[in-house]
Symmetry: C2
Subunit: 217 residues, 2 copies
């Protein structure tokens, strides 16, 4: 897998990597930074469907769906790797197990979508935000980006709103509630979970849907 031809690129924050309607001939692997999958309504309101952390492949679906039905953009400065569809298809043909692993990746993405739907549809702001923070910490931890319950999370409140389907103002007030409850510390792009049990309870967070593998070196 290391042998794959990869082109790398660096992007600034808030740049599109691919756009809805594109017909990509390659996939991108996020190597560093945070990216997101999003769509816009006709009035220009943005909904972020997924936050991608290093190691994720935001547009792996394009391997089997010609037309992209969402955009992918950076949230922070990012380092990306691009791999052509042809190379991936070749790899899957030569090593069917890798095909299965990639398929599985897309299924885990879908599992996260489902959980987010529960979050959007049935939890109010407080639990919704708590759940999101639990998930992000869990996923960042899985790729080694959390130390002592602290991680970089340089998202603006507007971006959190676009993830949660809330206004910036309400994100601000809800964050204050979480802080007042002693659950988190979030400032300067750094998040610390001060009370994991409390935060998980507030967000009804059960990481089963992430289908995390037991960690391997």
């Amino acid at each position: 897998m290391q042998a794959l031809p990869v082109q790398t690129a660096e992007l600034k924050a808030d740049q599109d990597i691919v756009r809805e309607g594109d017909h990509p001939t390659r996939c991108c692997v996020l190597l560093e930074g945070l990216a997101c999958v999003y769509k816009l309504t006709a009035e220009g309101r943005r909904q972020i469907m997924a936050v991608q952390v290093p190691g994720d492949i935001p547009d792996l679906q394009s391997l089997h769906l010609n037309t992209l039905d969402n955009s992918v953009g950076t949230l922070t400065p990012c380092r990306l790797g691009f791999i052509s569809h042809d190379a991936i298809r070749e790899l899957c043909r030569a090593h069917p197990r890798i095909g299965g692993i990639l398929w599985r990746e897309t299924l885990v993405d879908a599992a996260i979508f489902r959980e987010w739907m529960l979050n959007l549809g049935r939890r109010e702001a407080y639990g919704r935000l708590a759940h999101l923070l639990c998930e992000l910490v869990a996923r960042l931890r899985a790729v080694g980006l959390v130390q002592d319950d602290t991680c970089d999370l340089p998202l603006t409140q507007a971006e959190l709103g676009d993830i949660l389907g809330l206004s910036t103002v309400h994100v601000n007030r809800t964050l204050q509630e979480l802080r007042a409850a002693g659950l988190i510390t979030l400032r300067g792009g750094s998040l610390t979970v001060d009370d994991w049990a409390g935060l998980a309870a507030a967000g009804e967070f059960d990481p089963a849907y992430l289908h995390l593998q037991p960690r391997r070196t």
Copy 2:
């Protein structure tokens, strides 16, 4: 593909086919009726993540994810076919193209999840309901279950609420608005789209995300 060993079963409405936490060893194909993928919050509020129409495979993901992270239940009386994971894996090994087709199916499901997230997060009740109805009609049409802009849609308002993240009462009022606007007729489990352009505009519906194939006989 016809040669696969399939067990069929008939279920009444409102029955679980598989439950969150299960470790299935087979997949189910919906042959007749409507089913749904759902989860419950701790307080027992239900969010429906997907409505399955005949031809869909609600738990195809279980092929690569051992633990099911959602439940699947019937919405109406259903006829189901069950196929063992082993048989499907064997088929994929023998015919890699079928593996790709199944993978694609799961990717289309994910594309629908994304669109629903936009719906839940960024559209208000009127547009949200309009969008849902557009999608259901489009998908039912694709499997030949729509005649003259009319189809069976025996969903209760409570179920529509569980799909849309709305209360039953509000679904009721929003349906009345759609009727008053002359867009739809819905009663007795039968839906007629009286003004497709109007309904699609209300829901900002663009079927691209469904990735429908040009119809084959």
